[in-house]
Point group: C2
Amino acid sequence: MNEKKLTAAGRLWIEIDGENFLGSGRIELLENIESLGSLRQAAASMGLSYRKAYYAVRSMNELAPAPLVELRQGGKGGGCAMLTETGRVFVEKYQKIAHQFVIFLTKQSAVF
Amino acid sequence: MNEKKLTAAGRLWIEIDGENFLGSGRIELLENIESLGSLRQAAASMGLSYRKAYYAVRSMNELAPAPLVELRQGGKGGGCAMLTETGRVFVEKYQKIAHQFVIFLTKQSAVF
DNA sequence: TATCGTTATTCCTTTTGATGAATAACGCGG
DNA sequence: CCGCGTTATTCATCAAAAGGAATAACGATA
């Protein structure tokens, strides 16, 4: 039936009580926070406005059983952003299921 | 770690040459077209504007290797909309991988 | 030829979302 | 006590999407 390339595609995220909690964008943000130590720089590094990044962190911290990111304002360097242990655990968990998802999609694409 | 309910959630669709082709909304529209025989009624039955439904059908028909929906204007009843054989095949295919996707998500949710 | 209910298309309004600018608050260090 | 760079927050503006209204086109039927 084909000449064109048919593929199964999708998006995956984690919900808490039915509310959006962690998707690929937020995970990328968390990773950048971990490596850069600054929310502003993390946002800039992925072409995200600071405000959007800030609200994302707030939403994550409120939804999670414990905060994923610790934000400090003032002090040395003006402030900092750090991933908590809970944050690191969730990043790792997401990466695992995201990897399984890639496998799933390639498997389903074989149907066509 | 829990009191709150963590679940893996997601969306699944089919792409053709990297472009969005069939998602759950369009599949629902196709099903309603099949059962009602009218694009206008199919759109109304799922709270969709006629225009949006019409453009969705146009997009699908252009992307697909063969049209999924046949539209006729004028004549008995004013016109009609019918699913083609190709359309029925794609609906069935989508439903199968969508079912697999549900299984996948429940499996991944067990991680939490 | 007039009727009818649908398909086909355009236009305008509303609404939602994204974006950037601007500014306050903070606390360590000089 | 002032400067610095960050976090924290509000405001206004612009773009994009959504929605509804209105109307033309169509062809079997009577």
